[in-house]
């Protein structure tokens, strides 16, 4: 016990642990928003969209511009929060219709490489439009400060994230399990050809799913914008994290994404305390173990 407390002096600090758990939860919820979209798109179209992190980044930049151009200070954040993900959803729709639709029948590797190419294109366009300097998005006035939790300061903006994300999760569950569209989406993840044979317009479903997944990435980016420096490179950072989440949880699994996002969020939060230098390596090591033991992830389905 003494060894443990000397190695990890924070272990007896209950309030610190509580705050750490909560910040891990907020990180996990961001990751969930992004990875569930990626997972959904894979489940239906069988494309691993590597440009998903780019959508997240574009949404954060949309927030920067929208808040700048809007005169009404008090409401501008909330309006931007609504509009930015819609903008990204439209972008996703355009990409699906013009590019991805042409390659659904091709080698999966080619699809992967194409979305990899999108990262470069979108990244450069963002650089050209917004310039190389980091931007910041102000937190809304009501959530600019911090609250005390067990005596420890906790940024109140994260409370919004913690409050909003379960709503999104429940909303997604309702969409997937309580609507006809959700049923079609779930059916498509099981057997696309059969769905087509039954008379469903699969091509339109693909577009809808891609737009919806892009919107989720946009929502994640818009929500995350006030918590990070809006900068080039956030696409790669978030992609890699989302990727780890999706792989651990299982591509195409809704519950898998949720569980694994929270797990990874907590791991990052505590990894920084335990192994400050190697927390990201720890993350990849866990992902590697999952890929070797259960390549299809905790709740995914084996590749046929």
């Amino acid at each position: 016990m003494e060894l443990i407390t000397s190695l990890f002096p924070w272990i007896t600090n209950g309030p610190l642990i509580a705050v750490q758990v909560m910040s891990g939860l907020s990180v996990g919820m961001f990751l969930f928003l992004i990875s569930v979209g990626m997972s959904l798109i894979f489940g239906v179209t069988r494309i691993v969209n590597l440009a998903h992190g780019s959508f997240y980044m574009v949404s954060a930049y949309f927030m920067v511009t929208l808040i700048e151009v809007m005169p009404e200070r008090a409401l501008s954040f909330w309006i931007a929060l609504l509009l930015a993900p819609v903008g990204v959803a439209i972008l996703g729709g355009v990409i699906e219709v013009t590019l991805l639709r042409r390659i659904y029948r091709r080698d999966p590797m080619m699809q992967l490489i194409l979305t990899f190419g999108l990262i470069l294109v979108i990244g450069t366009l963002v650089l050209l439009v917004w310039g190389p300097d980091n931007k910041s998005v102000p937190r809304p006035d009501a959530l600019a400060g911090s609250v005390r939790i067990f005596g420890q300061p906790f940024p109140s903006y994260y409370l919004l994230v913690l409050g909003l994300s379960p709503l999104v999760a429940v909303g997604l569950w309702l969409v997937f399990y309580r609507t006809r569209w959700g049923m079609l989406v779930r059916a498509a993840t099981v057997d696309r050809e059969m769905l087509g044979a039954l008379g469903v317009n699969v091509s339109r479903l693909y577009t809808q799913v891609f737009v919806f997944g892009s919107w989720l990435a946009g929502l994640g980016g818009a929500l995350a914008a006030p918590t990070v420096a809006v900068a080039l490179g956030m696409d790669a950072d978030v992609l890699i994290n989302a990727f780890v989440v999706v792989v651990i949880g299982g591509l195409g699994s809704f519950a898998g994404s949720l569980i694994s996002a929270l797990l990874v969020g907590e791991l990052q939060s505590f990894g920084i305390l335990i192994f400050p230098a190697v927390s990201i390596v720890l993350l990849f090591a866990i992902m590697a173990v999952v890929l070797i033991v259960r390549p299809w992830g905790l709740l995914g389905r084996p590749e046929e």
Partner: protein
């Protein structure tokens, strides 16, 4: 094959004579083309011949580059010894990671290779004491004899030319044909007695080995090494080169490397900021419009299975 030999003779003569008439700038460009060509050809051993696409191949390039740099700078090894050790370090990395990676297929193969690649990048980036972190390692130069660009060009030509011969021998060996059999139909390959996983691992290690040579040669050419060598965007480079040149032809990546570097030079000259945009756009265009790559456009179909067999 007299035509093949004639082509080789012309190519070799051109490679030997060109530096005498070109400016230093183009000699540097030729060195970089040679490095990219070797890296991409090593990568294509996996992608074109083995049907395995790695998204983290920059890791082995970086392992070679860092091994050469560290041995020369920190351990005080002579350049040739450091350079000779580089591919073995890269191959060792490829053996350890590849052991796990070849257990997976397709998408998952690509993802695990990316994950290991990012681990290598993170370790290089964070291990500031050894690798210099973000600042990289500077002042890694060859001995005085090879210091001029022309001398280093001939040295590069020798090392990379030999590596090409080695890779060509691998591709045309029984091992190379077994690899192609695995690419076309792993199950059938197993039925006829090919140990699929072991062959894939050997290919992975060999590919890492030659990527390490490219990395080592580049380290001494560049005079410095940086963590970016291992970043996942670097892994994109051989992929683009192979796509440009055409998958599944041995010389495709060589042609692709020329096209790639010339494009990079042209575009970087008037607008370096646009380079990644073009790179991405080229890849997207090649995939959507030219599934066989540019060499495929010319009608070269070396080692491509006949369509009836492919499907």
């Amino acid at each position: 094959m007299p035509r093949g030999i004639a082509l080789w003779a012309i190519g070799l003569a051109a490679a030997l004579v060109l530096p005498l008439v070109l400016s230093t700038f183009f000699i540097v460009l030729l060195i970089e083309i040679a490095v990219v060509a070797l890296f991409a050809t090593a990568f294509n051993l996996l992608m074109g011949f083995g049907g395995m696409v790695s998204f983290g191949h920059a890791a082995y390039f970086a392992l070679g580059a860092y091994a050469a740099a560290l041995l020369a700078q920190k351990a005080g090894w002579p350049m040739l010894a450091a350079l000779a050790a580089a591919p073995f370090v890269a191959a060792l990395g490829a053996l350890v990671f590849g052991f796990f990676i070849v257990r997976l297929t397709h998408t998952y193969f690509a993802m695990l290779s990316l994950a290991f690649g990012q681990i290598v990048y993170t370790v290089i980036f964070k291990w500031t004491g050894l690798t210099g972190g973000d600042n990289g390692l500077l002042n890694i130069w060859p001995p005085a004899l090879l210091r001029s660009q022309t001398a280093y060009y001939y040295f590069t030509l020798l090392v990379i030319g030999t590596s090409f011969l080695g890779l060509h021998a691998i591709v045309t060996s029984p091992f190379g044909y077994a690899l192609r059999a695995i690419r076309e139909n792993p199950r059938r390959a197993r039925f006829i007695g090919v140990n699929v996983r072991r062959h894939q691992l050997y290919a992975f290690v060999l590919s890492g080995f030659f990527s390490g040579i490219a990395g080592g040669v580049f380290a001494f050419h560049n005079g410095s090494v940086f963590p970016d060598f291992a970043f996942f965007t670097k892994s994109f480079e051989p992929l683009v080169v192979v796509l440009l040149g055409g998958v599944q032809s041995f010389y495709g990546p060589l042609a692709g490397a020329f096209g790639f570097k010339m494009l990079e030079w042209l575009i970087s000259k008037w607008a370096p900021i646009y380079w990644p945009l073009f790179l991405g756009a080229i890849v997207i265009a090649v995939i959507v419009l030219l599934p066989q790559g540019f060499v495929g456009l010319l009608g070269r179909r070396a080692w491509r299975p006949r369509p009836s067999i492919a499907k």
